[in-house]
Structures are given as structure tokens and as C-alpha cells.
């Protein structure tokens, strides 16, 4: 479990987080959403120990990440947005890296490479950006760490690759694995993530599972725009209205509409979800 308590963090003169508290439960695939520059990557780096909080604490299964203890590091893997790789093949890379991870599975790596349709024999620098990303995803998943942090994993992937990405994440992540996917392309991770965390400048606007969201918020698909909706958007064939679930009705979460609704009604929805 990841517990963030009263976290303050700033880069020189730019405040990123101010006294935020947040928890990530084990075994879920979290979607970490937010506009550009709100600190999604920074939050992942703080959880991984690549940055250190200026105030407050980040605790992952009892470890303080910034200490970078081997016992902690062997259970986390961070796949950054920018693909940087050595002049080697993914196979050699994973053989060199895998020895540090107790649950590393070479067979799984091969299987994932096949499923993601990446050429095993080619060096990283001979692969396209999307292919590199998929190869690194196969590497990351074959390590079978308890925590997997993916920063904008779908950037640069073509449409079939995005579908493959969703497939392997949902198929190969065990019930014990906690995955946090940071993205601003919410459609790419639809039907994959649950719960959702929405970050804003200095603040966490939402951290809730789909069931909790639909308990409080109703997504109405209808022919007209409703005045009492938090957010309304025109869709082919009608409108989607995001509104308070006053009648305890069931509905399906539309992540993009939810995100826009939260961004337009920050305090209202934050208080509603408490």
C-alpha cells in the first residue's frame, strides 16, 4: 500500500504539491489523470524515490522510497515517458536487469514480446519509438514487481498497439500488482483503469473507484442538455450529462466527461466525493 501524507514538494520556485494526502491500495490499476504540468510524473518519481518530499511522507509497504533500499527497489519498476535505452537488444537488456528482481520471468518476457509484436533480434536503436515502448513494457512486466508505474505509456503508440497495451496490462498483471498509469489521454486507458486519481495544481481533486464514483455521480446519456449537470458534452446522437446521483441510479463512467466535470467543478465534486 502507498500512503502519502501531508506531502509538500517544489522544484526551486515552483510549488507542485501543497499538503496533499493520498492512498493507493494494493492490487488495483490506477489511472493518474491531470492536465499537463500538474505533477503526475513528479508524484510517480516521489513514490519511486527518485525525488524526496520537502515535507510530509511517502510510505510504500513500510519503506521510505527516497532511501532507495534494495528490498524496496526490487518490488517497484518505473517506466518513464521518454524512451531511453542502451545500445543493446531488449533481450540482453532484460537479462542484465532481471537478475536483480526475484520474480523476473524470462519466459514471460518472450511471451509478452510476441504478443506485443516486437522483434526480439533488433537493438533498441533499430526499433521505432512505439516498438521501443512496447519492448520496455514487456521488460517491465516480466520483472513482476509489486508496483508498476507507467508514465504516459500510450504516447507514441499506434491504435492497434494501444489495444495491445490494454490487453497485456489487464491480462498479465496479477491481483497483487499495483499499477499506476499516468496519462492525459484518458480514452487510451478506458476500461482498464479503476480507481481514478485526478490531480490539480497543488491538490488531489478525486481518488475514487468506479463504484464509488457512480454511487455519487450519474452519467446520463440523453437527447438534451440538462441545466443541473456538472458538465455536458455533445456526443453523436445526443448528450452526456454528468450530474449528482440523487436517485441512486446505476450508470457507466465516461472518464473524459468525468475529468472535464471535475475540472469545471473542483470544490463541489471534491466535497461530494468525501
Amino acid at each position: 500500500m502507498i500512503k502519502i501524507n501531508n506531502l509538500d514538494f517544489a522544484y526551486k520556485n515552483t510549488q507542485v504539491f501543497r499538503r496533499i494526502s493520498l492512498e493507493f491500495e494494493k492490487g488495483n490499476i490506477y489511472g493518474l489523470l491531470g492536465e499537463n504540468g500538474v505533477g503526475k510524473t513528479t508524484l510517480l518519481k516521489l513514490i519511486c524515490g527518485l525525488q524526496k518530499p520537502q515535507h510530509g511522507s511517502v510510505i510504500v509497504d513500510g519503506f521510505t522510497p527516497s532511501m532507495r533500499e534494495p528490498e524496496f527497489l526490487q518490488n517497484v519498476y518505473f517506466l518513464p515517458e521518454e524512451v531511453i535505452t542502451e545500445d543493446t537488444t531488449p533481450e540482453k537488456f532484460i537479462q542484465k536487469t532481471g537478475v536483480f528482481y526475484p520474480r523476473y520471468d524470462y519466459e514471460l518476457f518472450n511471451q509478452l514480446m510476441k504478443e506485443l509484436e516486437v522483434d526480439l533480434s533488433k537493438k533498441f536503436n533499430e526499433l521505432s519509438h512505439g516498438q521501443k515502448k512496447k519492448a520496455l513494457l514487456a521488460c517491465a512486466m516480466s520483472l513482476q514487481t509489486d508496483y508498476l508505474f507507467l508514465d504516459e505509456p500510450t504516447n507514441g503508440l499506434d491504435i492497434p498497439s494501444k489495444a495491445l497495451f490494454r490487453k497485456v496490462i489487464s491480462q498479465y498483471c496479477s491481483d497483487e500488482t499495483t499499477v499506476i498509469i499516468s496519462t492525459h489521454q484518458v480514452k487510451d486507458v478506458e476500461n482498464l483503469i479503476d480507481p481514478i486519481v485526478i490531480l490539480d495544481k497543488d491538490d488531489v481533486l478525486l481518488n475514487a473507484s468506479f463504484s464509488k464514483i457512480t454511487e455519487k455521480i450519474f452519467f446520463e446519456y440523453g437527447p438534451e442538455r440538462l441545466d443541473n449537470a456538472y458538465y455536458t458534452e455533445m456526443l453523436p446522437g445526443g448528450y452526456i450529462n454528468v450530474m449528482r446521483n440523487v436517485n441512486n441510479e446505476e450508470s457507466n463512467v465516461n472518464i473524459e466527461a468525468l475529468f472535464n466535470a471535475v475540472m469545471k467543478n473542483k470544490e463541489t465534486i471534491k466535497n461530494l466525493m468525501k
Binding site: 532507495r68 533500499e69 534494495p70 517497484v76 542502451e86 536487469t97 537478475v99 536483480f100 528482481y101
Partner: protein, 282 residues
């Protein structure tokens, strides 16, 4: 699990770092090994048929070895503090101490030993072929001080008494300690520079050393200018009877000061390098 030092994990780190050793340092080693070959070719082709004895060649090999010590950290661990490219290094499941030990192992031990072995082997091959290289550097390398003494004696610079003085001052243990500390100091300074600077790491560190040297010289010249009497008094004590003892004492003091200085600088630089590995943010 021991989160500070585990020998099995240290072995993995050493293997991990070693996997890219040839790729990162290979070209630099080849260039450094090629320099004596080029010199040999040049000397062979010149009409003067200049000869180079083993002792002079050892000096050249040592200078090239120092260049290797200077460039090795930035070649082997170039990206370890890079905000983007260093993430893999930081997230490698090993302790900061294990990463540090591996870095020291490759920069201070492996790189100089591989260079020296190759350089002496190439020198031997060239000496066998003949031409301008006379004698074997490998034969004299570990007996450098007796070479120095013989050379001085040959040139009638020292009499037997001075030769005795030299022998008792530069003991083999002292030479080994001096050599090890000079390698450690140079390497540790540039390992620290590699962790502190993000770009042009070696150049910046050389610049800082030049600045420090200039500052030191300014201070020393000022001190000497303001304490002329002190030096006059020192030399005033010397006469024919005690000159040898005083010189011997001065050499001892200078060697000890230089050893203590090297040891302190090495220890501080190594500790700072370890601290940077441990606390580096990405």
C-alpha cells in the same frame, strides 16, 4: 535482507556495470594503447633513428595512464546522474554502497590494470620487433626506483652516501603507497566530478583543478615573499656535515605531507561521491 551490503547483490552490480565496460571505455583504451605504437612508427621512420629507453617509455605510459584515470569515470558512468537517462541506474535494486563499490572497482582498479597490462604487452611486442625501443618497459616498470637511482649514479649526480640516502628514503613500501594513493586521488576527484556535473564533466573538473592550482600558487608565492627570512634561516642551518640529514628530513616531511594530503583528498572525494549516489535526485 541486508539493505546496505550484500555480496551476492554486489556481484550482480559488478556484472551489470561490467557488461557495458568494453562498449564505454574500449575506444579510449585503444586510442591510449595506439599512442606508443604511433610514436614507435614515427621514431622508426625518422632518419635520425632516435632511441627511447625503457625508463622514458614508462614515463609516457604513466602519463597516458593518468589520462585514462581522468576520463574513465565519465566514460563508464556518464549518465548515472542524468535526470532522464540516469533513472535506470537509480532504480537498480542495489544499495548506494554497492553501486559505489562497483564504480570504484571499475574506475580505480579494473580500468588502470587493463590499460597497464595492454600497454606493457604492446611495449614488449614493439621492443621485440626492435627499432627505436630499447629494453623492456615491463621489466623495469616495477623496479622504477632502482632505475632512477642507477641513472642518477651513472650521471655522477650522487655519490655513494647520497645513493644510500635515496635508498633509505624511497623504500619499496613507500613507493607502492605513493603510487596507490596518487591513482586513488586522481580517480576519486574525477569520480566526484562525474557525479556533480551533468555535462562536460571531465573538462569542468580539469578547469576547477587548474583554478585551485593557480590559487594555491598565488598563496604560496605571497607566503614566500612575506617570509624571506624564514627560508634564509632554514638554509643558514645547513652546513657540509648536516646537509644530507636535513635534506633527508625535508624529503621525508614532503613525502609524508604529500601522502597525508592524497589520503585526505581521496577519502573526502570518495565519501562525497558515495553521498551523491545516495542522494541524487532525478
Amino acid at each position: 535482507m541486508n539493505n546496505t551490503l550484500d555480496f551476492s547483490r554486489l556481484g550482480k552490480v559488478i556484472k551489470h556495470d561490467g557488461a557495458s565496460f568494453a562498449q564505454n571505455l574500449g575506444l579510449a583504451l585503444i586510442i591510449l594503447w595506439a599512442i606508443p605504437v604511433v610514436m614507435w612508427l614515427f621514431a622508426s621512420l625518422t632518419p635520425s633513428h632516435a632511441h627511447m629507453d625503457a625508463f622514458s617509455r614508462i614515463g609516457i605510459l604513466n602519463t597516458l595512464g593518468k589520462i585514462l584515470l581522468i576520463i574513465a569515470p565519465a566514460r563508464l558512468y556518464k549518465y548515472c546522474n542524468d535526470q532522464r537517462k540516469g533513472i535506470g541506474y537509480a532504480m537498480m535494486p542495489a544499495s548506494s554502497l554497492e553501486k559505489f563499490i562497483s564504480m570504484v572497482f571499475y574506475c580505480v582498479i579494473v580500468a588502470p590494470i587493463i590499460y597497464l597490462a595492454g600497454a606493457l604487452a604492446i611495449d614488449s611486442i614493439l621492443a621485440v620487433i626492435g627499432g627505436p625501443y630499447q629494453g623492456f618497459a615491463i621489466a623495469d616498470y616495477f623496479d622504477k626506483i632502482s632505475q632512477l637511482k642507477d641513472m642518477w649514479r651513472d650521471k655522477m649526480m650522487f655519490d655513494d652516501e647520497d645513493y644510500y640516502l635515496l635508498s633509505t628514503t624511497f623504500t619499496p613500501t613507500m613507493i607502492i603507497i605513493t603510487k596507490v594513493l596518487s591513482v586513488l586521488m586522481l580517480s576519486s576527484i574525477f569520480m566526484f566530478g562525474n557525479m556533480v556535473f551533468k555535462k562536460r564533466k571531465t573538462g569542468k573538473m580539469i578547469g576547477i583543478l587548474i583554478l585551485l592550482f593557480i590559487l594555491f600558487m598565488i598563496v604560496m608565492v605571497n607566503y614566500a615573499a612575506n617570509h624571506e627570512n624564514l627560508f634564509e634561516r632554514w638554509f643558514g642551518y645547513m652546513n657540509e656535515e648536516n646537509a644530507a640529514e636535513i635534506i633527508k628530513h625535508m624529503i621525508h616531511v614532503m613525502i609524508n605531507v604529500s601522502l597525508i594530503f592524497s589520503a585526505i583528498v581521496s577519502a573526502v572525494m570518495l565519501w562525497l561521491t558515495y553521498y551523491k549516489i545516495k542522494t541524487q535526485k532525478y
